[in-house]
């Protein structure tokens, strides 16, 4: 299962694994909307992602904007793997659409 959602009382954690591309885009959107609807603080874990494509980047970008509008926190749960950082550069993104969890 490359896309999973774990919830506890305060937090929604979206965990991604393997190749996150157009094949998983519909599922990822569903989970993001579910997490946004919960109104809880959101975290996304990318550490085990091998490849991330543009469909995922634009979903994160839209979800982050939505979360910010609602005042919900949406942050990265860990570091961004090297391959994603390279892909971000190639795609002309200055930084990952979701800020790092600095706490």
């Amino acid at each position: 299962m490359p896309v999973t959602l774990d919830q506890n009382e305060a937090l929604c954690l979206i965990r991604l694994e393997g190749d996150i591309d157009i094949a998983s885009a519909i599922e990822l959107k569903k989970l993001l909307i579910e997490a946004l609807a919960s109104g809880k603080e959101m975290r996304v874990d990318l550490e085990r992602v091998i490849e991330l494509d543009l469909t995922a980047l634009q979903l994160f970008w839209a979800a982050e904007r939505e979360a910010r509008g609602k005042g919900t926190g949406f942050r990265l749960a860990g570091r961004v793997p090297e391959v994603i950082a390279v892909a971000l550069g190639d795609a002309g993104f200055e930084k990952f659409p979701i800020p790092m969890d600095t706490k």
């Binding site: 157009i22 519909i26 959107k29 979903l59």
Partner: protein, 681 residues
């Protein structure tokens, strides 16, 4: 929570690529063949180059690395042709055609259908290098992906290009990853890139499979504008693309500048998702279509049952609904049949290559002319037409058409012609293969038929009858068996295929002027409009398309004709076949019978039945192998009350009757074991 398996998605894209590539290869083939005729045509060279580039690019994207590498070499050769460094010769065309076959084999290899021969690819590559004069140490180690391909025709001076790239809505859904294109650009030089997120909608409205991003880039490279454009060549139709020189970054005098604004306009104009063509057709697997038509067939049968019940119940409400459903099924049926209709063009065009290759092997000069390529036929008919046409063309090429010297000696132009034609005629379609070769020697055929014991020495035969021997299995007058034909197998294949399609073959030939073979095939194999008739307790269906009308035949009319089977219909005397006698149905003959008048190849004929019941949407069911030899019956259909009616073939009925020169009893349905519902035992 899981997502659909990724492997499936990739297989689907691979399949889509294979399908697309097959289509591109067909286009490439016709471009190459046309190029052989007009060697200076730049447009054709460009068409071939683009086809190759697309196959290479998409191939590499979907993991057909070997295919991409191989195609790359051919593409390079065409790049040389495009830039005028290499001229088109017939050797180059032949080599390209061989390479094309190799690409085809590689394409199918992945689908597990054929095995591409790597020796053959190497051989082609060696020859190609001989043409381009580019020694390459390892022919198969050519760049596996377009990203690594050397940019064609580098100008040597680095300059800046402003590129705007906006993927169309379906770009990613079609299996293209824009990121790969951006990476390919990055390989060409130094790239500054900014993504624009302005078009990304709120997440609730976001279509996750669509790309909303756009990019503005500045690329500094020594490659020319065309090379940049070539990166986008296979997504060009579904994206927004503008390339212009960057005024801030020009590091060399701009010599091409005046040309560029025009370039920009045309690319903006080419946003194919604004173009209705893009959405006006979709690709559907043939199996789904067959299933659809089968379901419509079942629906038609059920509707007939409903109609029957409604009539019996005499309930006006039920009758009204039943009639409405009948109208809808009828429209649905026509619609579903029209979906299956395809123009015969692709089938005809395919033979251009066969004729080109055979003409080369046989040292003949042959031109193909095509007429009525837009004639539409049912897909199942088209699928089965390929083999018989191929054999007919091979026969013409080998036996019919003379060598250029022979033609000149006979006072004909050295270039021979093979003419393929198609046209509609009632419920049939006529396919013709005509050549202007030496024709068939009727006497030789007759002599050979006697030799084989097919005919008695003193038999009086018409020319058409003599020519029909050609269709017999193992019949050949060829003195020599060649690679192309002469074994007497081909025409037998033609006969079998055409019979399987319930068609007929007509051969005409004049010694010295040529041969013409005409195939008459039914338009469709699934559902037809029929006229339901009754004889005794048996039901039959006559195809409506051939029916002209029906009149009454009274005892007095019969007596007036003095025992001859003729009747006067609208001032015209027409012969008739009494189906009751023909099928040996021994029930009491009614006082008034009815004559169905039908148009056949032999002229107008009447078929006498007890009663004409009315229109019937007829779903054709095959009778199966056991009854295949009964040619006057083209199938069966299930009636509303669940009983079976046999579908008659008027052409065959008349031909059969003429052949025996008696319009009396002929086929004994009981003897053949075939018994329509209610047929008296």
């Amino acid at each position: 929570m899981s997502v659909p398996s990724k492997g499936n998605a990739i297989d689907k894209f691979k399949q889509a690529f294979q399908e697309e590539a097959r289509e591109i290869l067909v286009d490439l083939e016709s471009a190459l063949l046309e190029l052989n005729e007009n060697r200076g045509d730049k447009e054709l060279v460009g068409r071939a180059f683009r086809a190759l580039h697309t196959i290479k690019g998409s191939g590499a994207m979907f993991g057909f690395d070997e295919l991409a590498a191989f195609t790359h070499n051919l593409e390079s050769a065409f790049d040389e042709v495009r830039s005028g460094r290499l001229t088109v010769t017939s050797e180059l065309v032949d080599l390209s055609l061989a390479a094309l076959d190799q690409i085809k084999a590689m394409l199918e290899e992945d689908a597990g259908r054929a095995v591409a021969n790597s020796n053959a690819s190497n051989e082609i590559l060696v020859k190609l290098r001989h043409f381009t004069g580019k020694p390459e140490a390892h022919p198969t180690e050519a760049p596996p992906s377009p990203a690594l391909a050397p940019s064609p025709a580098s100008t040597g001076v680095a300059r800046g290009w402003k590129i705007h790239f906006g993927p169309g809505p379906d770009l990613m859904r079609n299996g293209t990853n824009p990121l790969l294109l951006l990476r390919e650009l990055k390989q060409m030089g130094s790239l500054r890139i900014t993504a624009s997120m302005a078009a990304v909608p709120p997440i609730g409205e976001l279509d996750p499979e669509r790309c909303y991003l756009g990019w503005d880039m500045v690329l500094t490279t020594s490659a020319p504008c065309e090379a940049i454009r070539d990166v986008f060549i296979f997504v060009e139709d579904c994206c927004e693309l503008a390339i212009e020189p960057d005024s801030l970054q020009v590091s060399a005098p701009v010599t091409e500048a005046p040309k560029v604004p025009e370039e920009k306009r045309t690319t903006y104009g080419r946003r194919a998702y604004d173009n209705p063509d893009n959405v006006s057709s979709i690709r559907v697997p043939a199996a789904k279509l067959d299933q659809f038509v089968n379901l419509v067939g079942e629906l038609v049968t059920v509707q007939a049952r409903l109609g029957e019940i409604a009539t019996r119940r005499e309930d006006p409400d039920v009758v009204a609904v039943s009639e409405e459903i009948e109208r809808l099924t009828s429209a649905l049926r026509e619609n579903s049949m029209s979906i299956r209709m395809l123009p015969i063009r692709a089938t005809f065009e395919r033979f251009r290559r066969l004729i080109h290759d055979l003409a080369r092997d046989l040292h003949k000069v042959v031109e193909l002319t095509i007429e009525g390529a837009d004639t539409e036929l049912d897909k199942t008919v088209i699928d089965q037409l390929n083999d018989p046409l191929m054999h007919l063309i091979r026969n013409s090429m080998d036996h019919g058409i003379e060598s250029p010297e022979g033609r000149l000696a006979a006072g004909k132009p050295p270039t021979a012609t093979i003419h393929l034609s198609a046209r509609h005629s009632g419920a049939s379609v006529l396919i013709g293969v005509t050549d202007d070769g030496s024709g068939i020697d009727a006497e030789a055929v007759r002599a050979r038929a006697m030799e084989k014991g097919l005919v008695a020495g003193d038999a009086q035969l018409t020319e058409a009858e003599i020519f029909s021997f050609i269709l017999a299995p193992g019949f050949s007058t060829a003195r020599q068996v060649t690679d192309v034909s002469g074994r007497g197998v081909g025409m037998d294949v033609v006969r079998r295929s055409v019979e399987a399609l319930r068609g007929t073959i007509d051969i005409a030939s004049k010694p010295g002027t040529g041969t013409s073979v005409n195939l008459r095939l039914p338009l469709t194999m699934a559902i037809i409009d029929g006229l339901l008739v009754r004889i005794g307790h048996a039901y039959f269906v006559l195809p409506l398309a051939t029916s002209l009308g029906c009149i009454e035949l009274t005892r007095q009319d019969v007596e007036k004709a003095n025992g001859k089977h003729v009747a006067e219909v609208q001032g015209e005397i027409i012969p008739y076949i009494r189906l009751r006698d023909y099928f040996n149905i021994h029930t009491e003959r009614p006082e008034r019978e009815q004559i169905m008048v039908a148009e056949t190849e032999e002229g107008r004929f009447g078929f006498v039945v007890d009663q004409v019941l009315g229109d019937h949407q007829t779903v054709i069911k095959n009778l199966g192998r056991f009854y295949q030899h009964i040619q006057v019956i083209s199938g069966a259909t299930i009636l509303g009350n669940g009983s079976v009616a046999l579908i008659l073939d008027p052409h065959r009925l008349v031909q059969d009757a003429i052949r025996t020169m008696s319009l009396g009893p002929h086929v004994d349905l009981r003897a053949s074991g075939l018994r329509p519902h209610g047929l008296a035992a």
